[in-house]
């Protein structure tokens, strides 16, 4: 304890002090509003709704099954189910949400809604600059504000979005195959059900 440790420490901080003026690499902080670090792929803030095609309203993957609404621990999702049905992105007739609101002042970013969604319709966003002057209305996001395109999803979470696309394509292929098989079966049935007229016709 002769003070040499103190001198060593002082030399180290002096090096930092001088070095921070010389080399920009030393600086650990970023001048935030002007510069920003790109968000990490695994970052998550609040959920958003994915839509395909260019029309956010028609392309919403959400079918208003309300599973996320029921599973949401802080109950921040509000869904109104439609009375009629509309064809979804795959062409199948589905219900759709006439209202889909998320209160982000309540949301705790737990991602449970994303995990329970069977339609890959709700995903986590990385947008974090959500400050608003209106703390009630401004923080209650409606479905228009929540709807973000699949391309956006690809941009913020590339790996995850690619997996989702593969899965959806598989499901679609399976559904198509099933539909085709059903159609084939129906056609075969139809063919079997009316062989006589056919034969009659053939006999003409």
């Amino acid at each position: 304890m002769l003070g040499e440790g103190i001198l060593k420490g002082m030399a180290e901080t002096a090096r930092n002090f001088a070095g921070s003026f010389v080399s920009k690499e030393r600086l650990t902080t970023v001048e935030y509003p002007e510069e920003r670090i790109p968000t990490f792929e695994n970052a998550r803030v609040f959920p958003f709704l994915v839509y395909d095609t260019n029309d956010w309203e028609a392309g919403l993957r959400c079918v208003a099954c309300q599973i996320c609404e029921k599973e949401c621990p802080p109950k921040c999702i509000y869904i109104d189910k439609s009375k009629d049905k509309k064809p979804d992105y795959a062409g199948k007739q589905q219900f759709y949400p006439t209202r889909f609101d998320i209160d982000i002042s309540v949301c705790m970013s737990c991602q449970i809604c994303v995990e329970v969604c069977p339609f890959e319709a709700i995903k986590m966003d990385t947008e974090f600059e959500l400050a608003t002057g209106d703390r009630f209305g401004g923080l209650l996001l409606d479905r228009k504000q929540l709807a973000k395109s699949n391309e956006y999803y690809h941009r913020i979470h590339p790996t995850e979005a690619a997996e989702v696309d593969v899965r959806l394509a598989e499901e679609k292929a399976k559904a198509n195959a099933k539909a085709k098989a059903a159609a084939d079966a129906a056609a075969a049935k139809a063919a079997a059900a009316k062989p006589a007229p056919h034969v009659e016709g053939a006999g003409d």
Partner: protein, 396 residues
């Protein structure tokens, strides 16, 4: 090189300015007006310096941690203290319901007043001392000691456990180090033979081959200066001795229950204490307003005083950016087992220096004694006890 009258004019510019301003008044009022004018200058100058120091401190600490520090308010963030000032002035002033309101109100005022009093005897340049007291050093320490009262007033009147603990720590620490501060200055008094600060500076204002006769350039002076610096850091509650306001355990220490402008006064008091104790250190050991080389004497004396002051402040900030906070027992051990005995020894060495007379022998003997004792005390006396792994006899 400038000619002599201009150099002298520049050196005495503030004194001449004061005389000129006062000369407009009737003779009977002149002494009073001269004092008032100096007081006003001191009361405006040092808070301004404080404002500048806060922004430099934050920027410097930032650089030490490889950050930029404040840079948003004004050019390079230099208007930050204005923003801070507006903030602290407009904040609500809260007095706890169970606090002793008069004492709670008085504590920051007592602190700032006591600290300002210390500036009265500091020579800030040639002929630039507010009161040339024969016992200036004694007056300074009397005023310095009364800051402890205000710290305890703040801690006790807040009726808050953190405040009280902080105040108790502060008083224990300040009293322990006050002893060292005084004894390390006594060495200077022993050599210069006076308690008047301008005379102490005058005693150091000689040159041998361009080099000044500052007391720091003697063995006892160097040892005394190091002890003085340690004690001064502890006296002003600066890191690494900032236990009274250790935020990790005491929220903010004795000023936990202060907000708004009263908090700002505590902050101001802390920095003013730092300035005045740095100024005293410069006066005692670094030759006050004298130039470091005889060929630099053409630069006005007040520039030298304030550059020495700001250099000390820079070292304070540098230390704050480097050293972690001590534990209470380490603080006390350090004060009573290392700093105080070493300072007492330094007094003996100073006496030896005084009575060995001129010559090279006293340099060798005094340096050798101090170096040997420093190494002995550092290596053996302050050796940390090594406890090793804990062993259990019954709990197997």
């Amino acid at each position: 090189m400038l000619d002599k009258p201009i150099i002298d004019k520049m050196d005495q510019i503030f004194v001449l300015l004061q005389h000129w301003l006062v000369s407009f008044l009737p003779v009977s009022l002149q002494p009073l007006a001269a004092v008032l004018l100096s007081v006003i200058v001191i009361v405006c100058l040092f808070p301004a310096l404080f404002a500048l120091t806060t922004v430099f401190e934050r920027k410097g600490l930032g650089r030490i941690q490889n950050r930029l520090g404040p840079n948003r308010v004004g050019p390079f963030g230099f208007f930050q203290p204005i923003a801070d000032g507006i903030k602290s002035l407009t904040k609500e002033d809260i007095v706890p319901a169970s606090a002793n309101a008069p004492v709670h109100f008085l504590a920051p005022i007592v602190l700032v007043v006591a600290v300002f009093m210390g500036f009265a005897v500091l020579p800030m340049g040639r002929n630039m001392v507010l009161v040339d007291m024969d016992a200036g050093l004694l007056f300074y320490f009397a005023m310095g000691a009364s800051t402890e009262v205000s710290v305890f007033m703040a801690g006790w009147s807040s009726r808050n456990k953190y405040s009280l603990l902080g105040a108790m720590r502060a008083v224990a620490q300040m009293i322990s180090y006050e002893v060292v501060l005084l004894l390390s200055s006594v060495a200077v008094v022993m050599i210069s033979g006076t308690l008047s600060l301008p005379k102490i500076v005058e005693a150091q204002n000689q040159y041998t081959w361009d080099l000044p006769h500052w007391y720091i350039f003697t063995p006892w002076g160097l040892a005394g200066f190091v002890m003085y610096a340690i004690a001064a850091t502890a006296e002003t509650n600066r890191s690494p001795f900032d236990l009274p306001e250790g935020e990790s355990e005491l929220v903010a220490g004795y000023h936990t229950e202060y907000s708004g402008f009263k908090f700002a006064l505590f902050f101001l008091g802390e920095y003013l204490a730092m300035f005045s104790i740095s100024g005293l250190g410069a006066t005692l050991f670094l030759g006050g307003w004298t130039a470091p080389f005889s060929f630099l004497t053409f630069i006005p004396s007040w520039i030298w005083f304030f550059s020495k002051l700001m250099l000390s402040i820079f070292v304070f900030i540098w230390m704050r950016g480097t050293l972690p906070r001590l534990r209470q027992d380490q603080l006390m051990n350090f004060a009573w087992k290392f700093v105080l005995p070493f300072t007492l020894l330094n007094l003996m060495v100073t006496a030896l220096w005084r009575f060995m007379g001129e010559g090279w022998e006293r340099w060798v003997v005094c340096s050798a004694i101090l170096a040997v004792v420093w190494v002995f005390m550092g290596r053996i006396e302050m050796r940390s006890e090594h406890f090793g792994p804990r062993s259990y006899r019954y709990a197997e």
